[in-house]
Subunit: 319 residues, 4 copies
């Protein structure tokens, strides 16, 4: 039976304010361009651009920024019926980007009491979660209550209804109370997910250690639910492991880097899309890497999400 959605993403959808004048410190940036941002929103947008049927569960502010986000996602072809409007005056999160150089980027975040962290467990619809093949949850949504409990509730509904769960670690230090909390909740979610995607550093946060190895992660998580792990090592490329003992690797594609933001989100969107499209894991890794290479060469994260054709052209061009 075909489900209504290939992917439902859950978590933050917010506003990126990208420096128009770059290659300088943000103090000297005078103009900012507005985009939709936030890891799960970017993944949803990226997936929709690749042709997937996508839904989104989240909460946005009851103001111009919130309405912009909703409209942009709807225009991208995403089902926005489960994007709640915050009625308690919480604002949408903001990310001002500073692009000093391709190597030196930083983000100035406004995340205090933002609307997406106020998604409540009672706002999660079992009927909606049922309609997808894959539920993607983002680690940042675990940072605070009640969003944390909304994620846990959504996963519980997914498991009850045989919906696969992908966990994009998406670790951001702000808004977390302590490293112990990160470790506690990342562990619970990773142990219950089917697919886990993150950087080596993010897995280390989850495991509460420094300098952990992929083998340790495999030993730990394959005792539980996961069947597929993707561990990204930056320029060294990315690795995938399956619970039948196999492993895969992919390098990075050459590109002219403008900024590093959005790489992870475009990677996840393309990787999951390729899997769903029946590609083998090796190919899916290439899709992820190519998609990331395209996004880092452009000014935005969400608007720059590539099409299948662009990804395949890049793969072909550099193979």
């Amino acid at each position: 039976m075909t489900k209504k959605f290939d992917l439902i993403a859950l978590g933050r959808a917010c506003i990126d304010l990208n420096a128009v004048e770059y290659n300088r410190p943000m103090e000297e940036t005078m103009t900012f361009k507005k985009y939709v941002g936030g890891s799960p929103a970017n993944i949803a947008i990226g997936s929709a651009k690749l042709g997937a049927k996508v839904g989104f569960v989240g909460k946005v502010s009851d103001d111009q920024h919130g309405r912009f986000i909703q409209r942009f996602m709807k225009d991208a072809g995403i089902d926005t019926s489960q994007i709640y409007i915050d009625k308690a005056e919480h604002k949408s999160g903001l990310a001002f980007t500073e692009i000093k150089s391709p190597e030196e980027c930083s983000i100035l975040m406004y995340r205090d009491q933002v609307a997406d962290l106020y998604l409540q467990p009672e706002e999660i619809s079992e009927d909606y979660i049922k309609k997808t093949d894959l539920l993607l949850v983002s680690g940042t949504a675990l940072a605070q209550s009640p969003s944390r409990e909304a994620v846990l509730k959504a996963i519980s509904y997914a498991k009850k209804n045989q919906v696969k769960v992908a966990f994009e670690l998406d670790y951001r230090p702000y808004t977390w109370q302590s490293p112990e909390d990160v470790s506690v909740y990342y562990s619970i979610v990773a142990e219950n997910a089917d697919i886990v995607i993150g950087t080596r550093d993010e897995y280390d946060e989850m495991e509460g250690k420094k300098g952990g190895t992929n083998q340790e992660t495999i030993n730990y998580l394959f005792q539980h639910q996961p069947e597929l792990l993707v561990i990204k090592h930056g320029v060294k490329g990315s690795f995938a492991y399956t619970n039948d003992g196999k492993s895969y690797q992919a390098g990075a594609y050459k590109t002219t880097v403008l900024k590093t933001f959005g790489a992870g989100d475009s990677y996840a969107a393309a990787f999951l899309y390729a899997l769903k499209a029946g590609k083998d894991i090796e190919t899916a890794l290439k899709y992820g890497s190519a998609s990331a290479a395209i996004v880092v060469s452009k000014h935005s994260s969400s608007e720059a999400m590539p099409t299948v054709e662009e990804i395949e052209a890049l793969i072909e061009g550099q193979s």
Copy 2:
């Protein structure tokens, strides 16, 4: 290999202020007698009284009440090395009991920002958890952060070290943010515990429903980790179920009820003690019921915990 502890209990240890003049509303009660209270503390004290080797993990106030709790538990033979002293001026919880009649009891709780809810995940010692056969956690400790994360961390250590986990649901409505939160965290912990003990109403809170049946609970939890469930139906007696499909039942013992407080804690202490002592489940249920019958006939919860001889005398007397 024999472990250092039969049982480590984790959670709140606080102060009961029991009405000296009873059979009247609390407005007319002028004198209160002080006892140690709190479900996991009572279970620890009850277990120690039965001869078990017991440790306790918790946090008490840095004041006369906190010192009284520590001293009382130490005098009861409990290892108090993991009872932390709160350094942020949080007070010990209080429970003023009102005993209008044996049937009409109520409790006036002081639970706002109490010390036990400030136990932190970084204060949980894996080395300590390792030393017990059984870790008992109390549902109330899940009501707020950081105590919530401390419980989740302790369970994670227990599972990593093959320590069995008993979950006493111990549901108290105050301090919880919403019924959804109760359901989310009770489910996570119950799915990961080996033994779950609670009233029918408490299981319903966990399952987020009203009027649930034991069969539904069995269907749900035996898909996960639990191997033994105890479901108490008040005067109708209690039921035990094992994941091999067997079920057991025990009635209540006759007694002169002074108040209803402390019944559940004395039940859990005696039931778990009996299991550990190698009794069969049927006998363990009798131990639980007999222990409860003894405590409800006395003024305190903690001080009234019975010895093995008292329990066996009651069972024999009414068999």
Copy 3:
């Protein structure tokens, strides 16, 4: 025109739990007796006992403790029509007293989020404030919002309606955020009051200094509204100053001290009563000292408040 009330007191009314077994640390005290407590409640009760017509503005918990407080104050002859019932589950404050020896007393306070600190400015009735000759406000009510704003509002109404304001400094370190806050709000209220009563230490808190002198206090406050200052120096007796340049002094009466609690409240009640009764300041100081001497020899603060006859008998006996 005679007003309905001689005195309206505003601020906390809470529960004292006094050690029944004293001359020992509280850890060894097993029984506590319940009384109404809190500085402005004690002053109201003391004033009523002396025959004054008294009203009270405050907020108590919606539970057995709150109802006990209301009933006790009503039975003492106080108008309780402006005692609000907290509808947000805040508890009544508690004070467990420890009486190690007459010289060594301490109090274990439960003041976190207590009902009296949730009295709101919109709950202050101008019509009610109008009906009194004197409004007495307590410094502790300034410790947190919204009680702080309720006090400021009540003073504003008093001034608008030519009602005199007495400010009992009643400084308690807990619940205040910082010494700067104490100084800021104590100064605002003292500058706007007609009568200020406190210990030398409390005036120092207000002035944000250590080792201040009465002369400095006089120089400061007589530039503003106050016409009468009472500064208490413990065993050295108390001093009164008027803004016409006069000063008065009174010694302490001999008594058998059981505990030190309640001395200040009984002092204020009797001093203000004597003034209102037309006594000269010298006599009013004696009333205050005698009333304090009587209360410190008894077990409670509120119940022990003396009658005019008891006060006059003591003054006469020791003159």
Copy 4:
């Protein structure tokens, strides 16, 4: 003796993000230009531009936005030695402007837990306050603790050192807990200020009423400290009253309105500058109106502050 400063302004300094594409709803605005904003910062900048010696007391974020604010104000000639850097990760406030039409402007504010509201009373230097002729405080700084207490402390130092206090009501509904709080604190500060400036609506907020008259305001405030009140009635012009019973009025200047933001701040800067320069009140009102007319015709508030020459040219051109 000449003082170091003509004016010290105290309160928020934050970031305005003004729509680059205007005459449309903000949802359709894609680019924003960054300016320094916040009423007291604008007044300080405007005053400096007019040639006044200006200091500023405030707190900014420890990030790129905070550094931009500091640098901009320093470059404007303002003494920034009392601008504190927030060390607790509070962000600088943001104001996104929406310019639908000259008549329809709105602001989307980010004011949750912003750095300026964390200025603490202990950060107010009596030595610094002493050095100015006039202290200007902004009503918004009273909205929350500890900034509220910092303002009260600064006023207390000003009065102790015979420094005049100007209170710019600057009422913004967000961040205030209740209308009662606004009324309580606005009243305390207005009663203690020498000059009060605000719109008729803002005075109504202070007086806790709707539809108040200037006469009522005069009757109330001239019983206290104020000697000069400015009450603005929008397009009907503005009124000034002095406590010797005189009154003054000024109309508005014709201009091409781009947006309405910044009008009040430029008014206050020019009005206070003119007074200090020894102009009569009538002329000072003209300065205020002319300055406002200039700023509303330009894109920013802070950068657009006029010079004396520009103001005088406008006055002359339309007289």
